[in-house]
């Protein structure tokens, strides 16, 4: 199931998108600023619980989706833990390499852990938005906070057509594969090149067709649409404010070192 389908099925789908952003975005800033592993874990846990318990996403699905950024995180932060120095005694584990030593220091590991958990907390916040809010709703809430209409139109058009482009690309690739287009390196390069150029032609033609179709419905340069009537639930603002305030207090405590 794609993130898109999760968002469409979410139990929190009908909550006004502004509230969801208000709930999930400030903790990102707090986690980045507090730079504390327990606080990051707290945010991570809170968002995970919200997605699973409130949003109705199966825990297994959520964990599977977490694997994707987790893979990047592990590879990315591993590089931070590794250091190079002339003095082997600073390392926990090290190996000589030429005149210097390469290894892992205690501070490096601590830094990597901090980085990893901060990133994980931020990802979980963004996942909360992604798992509960369809892109169309998100676009509308962007308009509410004053993002230029052109930018939103572009975003939503890209969102719509990325799926078409992806579908076409995979159809072409399947057709190429069925004629041994990817058997061998040279053939692979050739196939990939023609795939890319065909996609370009396809996009140009598709945009022309779309333009004609839109003209037929009276398009005059501005995309105007009407959103489905807002049956959006409005949760209590006080409740969200309370959660945010509590998080902020913990973040300050964590940052000033009173807590961990």
């Amino acid at each position: 199931m794609t993130l898109d389908e999760h968002a469409a099925r979410s139990r929190l789908r009908d909550v006004a998108p502004g509230f969801k952003l208000l709930y999930a975005l400030p903790p990102i800033a707090m986690a980045l600023w507090a730079n504390s592993v327990p606080f990051s874990l707290l945010v991570f846990g809170l968002m995970g619980a919200s997605i699973v318990l409130k949003g109705g996403v199966r825990p297994a699905d959520y964990l599977r989706w977490l694997l994707l950024p987790a893979g990047f995180l592990v590879i990315g932060t591993a590089a931070v833990a590794v250091d190079m120095s002339a003095h082997p005694e600073t390392f926990v584990v090290s190996a000589p390499l030429g005149g210097a030593n390469i290894g892992v220091t205690a501070t490096g590991v601590a830094m990597a852990a901090h980085l990893c958990f901060r990133a994980l907390a931020s990802v979980s916040c963004l996942y909360f938005v992604a798992f509960t809010t369809p892109v169309a709703d998100l676009g509308r809430s962007m308009a509410a906070v004053g993002v230029p209409a052109l930018f939103i139109e572009m975003t939503l058009l890209v969102y719509r057509f990325v799926f078409l482009l992806f579908g076409t690309a995979s159809e072409i690739a399947t057709a190429q594969r069925s004629r041994l287009g990817y058997a061998g390196t040279a053939a692979s390069f050739r196939s990939l090149a023609s795939l890319a150029s065909n996609l370009f032609v396809f996009s140009a033609r598709r945009s022309e067709e779309l333009y004609v179709a839109m003209e037929c419905r009276g398009y005059d340069g501005a995309i105007r649409v009407l959103a489905p009537s807002s049956g959006a639930r409005q949760p209590s603002l006080a409740g969200i404010a309370l959660v945010e305030a509590a998080l902020l207090c913990v973040a300050i405590a964590a940052h000033s070192g009173r807590f961990f």
Binding site: D4, A136, R217
Partner: protein, 288 residues
Amino acid sequence: MASPDILRTEALRCVWPDGTVALDGVDLSIRAGEVTALLGGNGAGKSSLLLSFNGILKPRSGRVLFGEEPLDYSAKGLKALRQKVGIVFQNPDAQLFASSVYEDISFGLCNLGLPEPETRRRIDAAMELVGVAELARKPVHPLSFGQKKRVALAGVLAMEPSVLLLDEPTAGLDPQGADGIMRFIRELQRSSGMTVVVATHDIEMVPLFCDRACVMDRGQVLFEGEVTSMFEHRDLLRQAGLRLPRIAHLLEILSTKDGFDLPGTAMTISGARKILKLMKEEQEINGK
């Protein structure tokens, strides 16, 4: 019943930017309140004719008339025309662009500048009509081809046009889906008196759902008239890369090759049954 012509072309000649002659001297009248089928093989000029009815394709020479007035190709004139003449394209993916079904259907209405309550009423009515009401808040891309086609239709019907142009409405649908959409269009034409022009090479559905037929080949009109008279012009159909409906073909072969003495011709199952029953009755009378 002679209805007044709602759309008419006079010596219409259209040329694509690459020099291909799309329409080559087309004189054609579309009658108000009827379903007209535009028949022809691939590249016969059916889609080009639809586009010129909608003011998208401009004539090199000749003209298109809506009612009694020649088309006005100014921005204002086209806007007024497209409100009354709606077109549904063959590929719904080329027509649907918004991020949800509801928003896509609202697009044409928003361009008309209608007040919001009226817009919402029309969107709901159109979704109800084509049976996509439960998809309203879904994004467009995961819908099935048939659903997308219905949503595209709703987006045009919501604008409440008096003429509906359909480019290959049954292409890519399963037999039941194709029948369903044609029955729906027939019903719509009967209940609201809408004029419908269907470009198709699905010859089987023409006698079932259309009043008139126009056969095109290489940008020219070969034949135009009642669907029932199509049978007499079967040579023209074949010249255009088409054929008779299977039932008509069968009856033709039975009478020309197998020596059956059929009391008439038919193109549909119900028509053929009448003829065969008639034949049976005649035999019974002769037998006694």
